[in-house]
């Protein structure tokens, strides 16, 4: 026991002495937690639309007004030149072009139907389909309005209509912050705890102090524990700090219990530090540790459901992502913070992450040998 105490004392001394420490532990996470959610807003709005009105009738005017007052679109330009509008899409000044043909107002009433042309910059597929969806919706609405004016109103309720009443639970304002902030926090904790742990051990390898330790009576488990415990503390500190920022910066108050979150945090740290330990047994230099961890962090960030849903992934990708402790933690955080899920609800998450942690740590310890 005593060796462990001295190990921890040394580790903490070294950590506090590291000048970048405060920056890494507090400033960088704060910056990321504040900036990332602001940027990671997936709601589609402020779509730039150029309207080519060849008709200039009351009908076309009303349609344009309706489009612009919907709140989804920003007017990029109002022209009667098809060529100019094309140029606007090329220059990225407009994302969508609505072209109303000549004689639109008159022909609609006379012939019963009339085409309008819509050009969409589809490079961003999601934006294109959502933007088009909005525009189409507005046109359809306007269409019904015209029809109502033209036809006897009584006829429109001649057929059965089903009204679908939507309720949005847990996040009625439909904001993205509450969805992203807990997840980003998980990503931060992973990076800081896991990455730092891997680095720390590899640094000792590189310098040579690890060999000195190998010759002492310090047992394997004492050394590993002495290395990992400070990072458990670090992880918890960053996590708590992040929760604080979430509360102060974004008014996020978790619905669920803090204790539930911290319990899972511990299980998670167990797993992710095991991973850091594992990486450190394969890397010989800090540069290598850096490269490996970076690659993994990127994969975690992309596949863990942080930005795109796990459910949308193909089966093979889903399998892989279920090996990552990060995926579970993100899910847990979202569930507990937004919906108030309790320990019982996340029991499988806890179990799986614990098992993953066992595997990782065992593998790492087997790898880490004092004698060659």
């Amino acid at each position: 026991m005593r060796p462990l105490f001295f190990l921890l004392q040394k580790e903490f001394r070294q950590i506090f002495r590291d000048k970048g420490f405060i920056g890494r532990l507090f400033i960088a996470p704060a910056i990321q937690l504040i900036l990332l959610p602001m940027a990671a807003n997936f709601t589609i709005k402020n779509i730039n639309i150029a309207i080519v009105d060849n008709d200039h009738s009351e009908v076309s005017q009303k349609l344009s007004d309706k489009v612009l007052s919907s709140g989804y679109f920003k007017l990029a330009g109002y022209t009667d030149s098809h060529a100019k509008a094309d140029k606007m899409i090329e220059n990225d000044k407009a994302d969508i072009v609505l072209e109303i043909p000549q004689g639109f107002g008159q022909d609609l009433i006379k012939e019963g139907n009339k085409k309008v042309a819509i050009l969409v910059n589809a490079i961003n597929g999601v934006k294109a389909s959502v933007g088009f969806g909005y525009l189409n919706g507005i046109i359809t609405d306007y269409n019904s309005e015209i029809r109502m004016e033209m036809i006897d109103p009584k006829r429109t309720t001649d057929f059965p209509t089903i009204d679908v009443a939507p309720s949005f639970w847990y996040n009625p304002k439909l904001t993205y912050y509450i969805f992203m902030v807990p997840a980003i926090l998980v990503s931060l904790v992973t990076g800081i705890a896991g990455l730092s742990a891997a680095f720390n051990i590899v640094k000792e390898k590189e310098i040579g102090t690890i060999e000195q330790i190998n010759v002492t009576p310090i047992k394997k488990w004492q050394f590993i524990l002495g290395k990992l415990l400070p990072f458990v503390v670090m992880g918890a500190v960053v996590f708590s700090f992040g929760l604080l920022i979430g509360w102060i910066g974004y008014s996020i108050v978790p619905v669920g219990s803090l204790i539930t979150m911290y319990i899972f945090l511990l299980v998670f740290l167990f797993a992710i530090l095991g991973f850091g330990l594992l990486v450190s047994t394969y890397a010989e230099t800090q540069q290598q540790a850096n490269s490996l961890m970076f690659l993994f962090m990127m994969v975690f960030n992309m596949m863990s459901g942080l930005y795109t849903p796990i459910d949308s992934m193909p089966q093979w990708a889903k399998l892989i992502t279920h090996l990552f402790p990060v995926s579970y933690f993100i899910d847990v955080m979202r569930m507990v913070v937004i919906k108030g899920s309790g320990l019982a609800d996340i029991r499988y998450h806890i179990l799986y992450v614990f098992i993953i942690g066992l595997v990782l740590n065992t593998w790492a310890i087997i790898n880490y040998r004092k004698t060659t």
Partner: protein, 246 residues
Amino acid sequence: METVIRANKLTKRFGDFVAVDEITFDVHKGEIFGFLGANGAGKTTAMRMLCGLSIPTSGEATVAGFNVFTQPEEIKKNIGYMSQKFSLYEDLSVVENIEFYGGIYGLTRKEIREKHKELIAKLGLEKEANHLVRSLPLGWKQKLSFLVAIVHQPKIVFLDEPTGGVDPYMRREFWDLIYDAADKGITIFVTTHYLDEAEYCNRVTIMVDGKIEALDSPAGLKQKFNVPSIDEVFYKLARQAKRSGD
């Protein structure tokens, strides 16, 4: 005289390559025992086996009475070690390093306090006691490393090329510390490629290509090979060497 290290046909193989080839020797208590040889001769590998850092391929050895195969953990409690890179923590102070190593070898707080006063006085480091090791000049780091390596009064201390890169005056001072420790009954096992340091040892072995080609006191060796210095002994033996460079 008590024998603290006993090695019998100790061998280390890496695949087809025989790094250490059936070496046999004894080391007595309080001896300063030197392991000389060119780079690549197998000195460091041999030492690592005795420290419990590497498991021998064959042969047998006991260190401080414990078997290197079956009791490496016991060996570690009874030895000290100073590696080529000195391995003090550069980002800890002098005092903190002493505290750390003292602590993991099981010294009580009181003992640690006494020890660090003693060490600092011995080296004259009163002013630098709380400075980071990083700021010490090389010679001082070396001496400090040695004293920290024996902070727990081990039976044997293993020194792996301890005097690299330091001027001859500093090296002499370093060896003064070694003598001091030997006088107190600590056995010194030192590897070096500085042939003049052989003169400081009680007995010396010269390794060539993994084998012990000579084992005797410096005087004895000079007489045997009929040459005036250990240098010459070495050249006579090393000329036959097939390996060079680690």
